[in-house]
Symmetry: C2
Subunit: 210 residues, 2 copies
């Protein structure tokens, strides 16, 4: 931590005093008290970006789904499970935010009525066979809409992890979510990995591979 | 590791030379390349028992679902995702095993035809709404059956994490799975925790709270 404090002290601080909000990791949509639907996101990218933002001088707020990672040094943590909880944690503080990075892999659908007791196999119906799904709020699209409407500037960066048609899906996301940037990668290479190939999409310039 | 080697050297070794097989952690049943159904098991209990068995002189084989834990020192690791993979890893080696501890939280049901590409929200059908479930093999019951039939002794220990009716469910499990012991705990207290209250059930003696 002393090393990080030192690194921050000597680092140029392009984000000095800026309020940065990130989401990271997977969400966990409960089926019953023990089971749930999640995804393979490890949270590494979001946590690394949170640490980098802090080193660049930002005040960093990190809304994180369940991960096995240590909190980035200097970041204020908000630990959540479901997409709805993540949405609430984001909109509790979005008014003060200058830069939003939606890195979390947020579930599109939640489970309508999670069971309050663990579902047993000997019950006639297999656990989850009658799961009803409900659409979760689209956090990135709502933040993008807010940014397009409010007077105080808010830069919105989304992430797209796809298994195919990355360029097409990322360009769509740029438009549909009113994001300033979409950072895309191929999920089969990236999920859980320490290194990954990224492409940055924006409305005003050509896709840039990093 | 030197400390562990030393501890093992001076430890009494009731399991000296025994072949012990454990399963630990959750399983992950893929819906598509990024999403899946899992549970809140951290793997801590299975990993701790694997380490303890090694300290007691056993040869330890650990079949583990996805966890964030370091491999127990001295254990041979078999990393798997789904219940079917866990089943295969167990039955690949069960012939040589003297003691089986089924600690993993194994999914009762798998997804019949996981999508090979990430399912997109803009498709008319929400991801997973048409998931078809199929019954997974019951690893503990199959090991219990094998133990009851084969001549070479095989001790079978199962685990039950329940949210209610623990005594009843654990006694049922003892009978249905032909296990020698069932170790029960309440999931709401136990999952992810470092300490938990356990009860040991066996056919021949009264439940014993630890």
């Amino acid at each position: 931590e002393v090393v990080l404090e030192l690194a921050r002290a000597v680092n140029p601080k392009p984000l000095n005093g800026k309020q940065v909000l990130l989401t990271a990791g997977p969400t966990f949509e409960a089926i019953d008290p023990v089971r749930g639907i999640t995804n393979r996101s490890s949270g590494k990218m979001g946590y690394a970006l949170a640490q980098a933002a802090w080193l660049m001088g930002a005040n960093v707020n990190l809304v994180s789904g369940p991960t096995a990672l240590p909190a980035p040094y200097g970041a204020r943590m908000f630990n959540v499970q479901s997409a709805r909880q993540m949405h609430a944690a984001v909109f509790n503080q979005i008014e003060q935010i200058d830069l939003f990075l939606g890195v979390a892999a947020v579930a599109d659908y939640g489970i309508k009525n999670p069971s309050t007791q663990k579902q047993k196999k000997q019950n006639a119906e297999p656990a989850g066979l009658h799961m009803e799904f409900e659409l979760n709020p689209d956090i990135l699209a709502e933040v993008g809409k807010l940014a397009s409407e409010r007077s105080q500037p808010l830069t919105v960066v989304g992430f797209a992890a796809e298994t195919e048609n990355l360029d097409e899906y990322a360009q769509q996301k740029l438009m549909n979510k009113k994001a300033h940037f979409i950072v895309g990668n191929l999920a089969q290479d990236a999920l859980g990995a320490d290194l990954t190939e990224l492409t940055v999409y924006s409305k005003t310039s050509k896709p840039e591979r990093l």
